[in-house]
Amino acid sequence: MQLTVWTYEGPPHVGAMRIATGMEGVHYVLHAPQGDTYADLLFTMIERRQKRPPVTYTTFQARDLGSDTANLFKSAVQDAYDRFQPQAILVGASCTAELIQDDPGGLAEALHLPVPIVALELPSYQKKENWGAAETFYRLVRTFAGPHALAPGAKRAPRAAERRPSCNLLGATALGFRHRDDGAEIIRLLASIGVDVNVAAPMGATPADLARLGDADFNVVLYPEIAGPSAKWLEKAFAQPCTKVVPIGVGATRDFIAEVGALANIDVSTMLDAEQSRLPWYSRSVDSTYLTGKRVFIFGDATHAVAAARIAAEELGFTVVAVGSYSREFARDIRDAAQKYGAEALITDDFLAVEQHIQALQPELVLGTQMERHIAKRLKIPCAVISAPVHVQDFPARYSPQMGFEGANVIFDTFVHPLMMGLEEHLLGMFRDEDGEFSDTAVPSHLAASGAAPILVMPQAVPSADAITLDWAPEAQKELGKIPFFVRGKARRNTEKFAAERGLPRITIETLYDAKAHFSR
């Protein structure tokens, strides 16, 4: 058992729902107890979809367990087929149904429906949402593209000279973090390179489209967490190479263009020479010197965390203090990125462990998921959201991709806006002692008229096992209060560490500044 407060990923059958809901013409019959229908609201409320997910649940109850849950499942499949007339039916079990071992695949086959049945085995007690999405997509791809695979040992026919190169765009799903806009952005980018999109899947594709996957010259893998296994199989079955670079950030987008150019045999040098994003100039503008060296903590799915680390370090000049991910399957990529940027690597799906790390590292900016946003809010550290798990705010009304050059523009704004602007920060720091508006005891200026109580920002002390009670002189305490709140926790921690290491009995103003000198970079 694992004690869990918040989870980064849902169960694997939710991953399967993301595939089914993204596609057209697929229906998923899920053997599941009453209550598991909550998953519908992820799509109808968080993503604001206008249609119910194409999922039928058996919603069995205790009284059914004593009788015949298998027949319940069969009638659910038959009813779903009759009502929705899908081109393919996915069948599977949620965590509870997995325990009662009714064999959804066998039961559905026994109905002899005129459409393919794709049976999913998603081990709920071992695997999670992204794995479930990847496995479901892989099963569908094999089922529909499989019959068209090259004979073993056969070579792929070269592309006819008059035909433009084409690729499949793999990985976008329902309920994906910015998948809607990433897909549009990359289709536009590929078109400007001169590459057509044969099939974009799973989002928007039908089973019949999956049967045509082999027609493309290569595959573009947008989200390796979801499309990885399918791309690997297509590589074998159709001798289709796939892209390795995920085009998030200016550097990665340029690498992606070069990679696509090589796969499509197109000269992309003029395209690479043209500056197409505002990010490089904005990062070089005078105002952005205040970004330099800001300590940033990164956590998300592997794809977005690795991309964010590269952008933070190479395109904004931040100092990356940690790169972490809940995608255990991609631990190696995370460790490589961490090593490259001299940061700590963190592979965990334990929210409490992530919180402890953030608290201990005292970063100046957190780039994380909605959950890190809550941690950061509590610790009063600026934060931007870079990855799933998704929230209704991650489906903005405006066009807001993460990928491509427009994505890089969006990311510049996303990472930078939570931070206080350079001069603003200095002015607050210089005059905070006498400043009636920004001192700790001041009421927020916009609430002053309402007589609101002052919000006291207490320095955050980090409890540790061997904590000793340190004596702060009142004037040192007061001096600490003059340090801007977003770095005060770190100043306090460093000072106490400095004092403890030297066995100083009392922290004075001198100790505070000695510690500052000692830890300054």
Binding site: V14, T37, S124, Q370, H374
Partner: protein, 428 residues
Amino acid sequence: MTAAGGLCATAPTRREPTIIRERGQREVFCGLTGIVWLHRKIQDAFFLVVGSRTCAHLIQSAAGVMIFAEPRFATAIIDERDLAGLSDANAELDRIVAQLLERRPDIKLLFLVGSCPSEVIKLDLSRAALRLSRDHAPGVRILNYSGSGIETTFTQGEDACLASLVPEMAPEATDAAPSLLVVGALADVVEDQFKRLFAALGIGPVQFLPPRRAADLPAVGRKTTYILAQPFLGDTARALDDRGATRIDAPFPLGAEGTSLWFGAAAAAFGIDPAHVESVLAPARDRAMRPLSRYRLALKGKRIFFFPDSQLEVPLARFLSRELGMKLVEVGTPYLHREHLAADLALLPDDVVLSEGQDVEKQLDRCRAQNPDLVVCGLGLANPLEAEGLTTKWSIELVFTPIQGFEQAGDLAELFVRPLARRTKLVA
């Protein structure tokens, strides 16, 4: 005891209502969802779900409750090793509870909450609770109940939780004065209003279940009279009956009329002079009716369809039809507790169509065919129905908003007015 009070309802011989009973896909939450409000209500209790990743995902998704950095609930997620042997699962549970209590020394009452997987593998949480209570005595009391979807829907989780508290209630003193117990979680603001009204009526002492702090659990016994504030508390009521308490029958305190009848029934049970009751309730009722008369203009004659959700549907339908003049197309409820709802059912129009249980596809067919003015439904259905052109009210808001009592009657009506008003305002 029967309903009595300011607005006396007469229930002459009437036709039995039509009840559609269906089985099929049920689009309802499981009882675990109750944790979302219960962990806010009982300030020193912690809820540990023993379940799967699905359970954890449900609770954090169901109400968008990722507000509390470290909330007073968590999930002990069962993994494949726990499925191999139950002795190991018990040892694992003990380890998790120890870890949790070490981390959160403020916990005084811990609920082990059963789930579908814990029930299917027959992990006995009542024995685990006994064992762990012994291990962690005297600082922490450990109880258990089931919030599983195979046993409970949505609000039944609260019923199971409160029922598990009843055996913990002390026996009342032998010389105890008659007391009133109000049963069912209410918003603190509503509870405070109710306390003031009970005091003005001259009823006391009045206690509430659940209490705001676990340590304040009231005593119970033959001198205890209780009144349900929520319509989904069948097991809790039975447990209180077993302790010798007596239930007051009344419509539920929704709307000016419903609240009057509810207080009136309590006052009658305590033998309060009807003239005094009327003098206390009349000003509150009149104030409640002022906004209602305004909202009645917007709702009168509008046709409403309820999908099953919280078991609040019957009293809500009574309020909307009698006090706001709405026409009831179909009133769906996950479970129809005929005894507890008797007073509300008696006030529904003769031609009402009720449905119990659900086959969601068939119910959607009926709903579309009827084309009501307003559909009350869960979050999974609301946006798709809006996109089809129907106007909806999400039912979960009726559980998470203070709607009981006189002062909230207008707010409750407004919840139904707003979706209709929006439809007339939006032109783009």
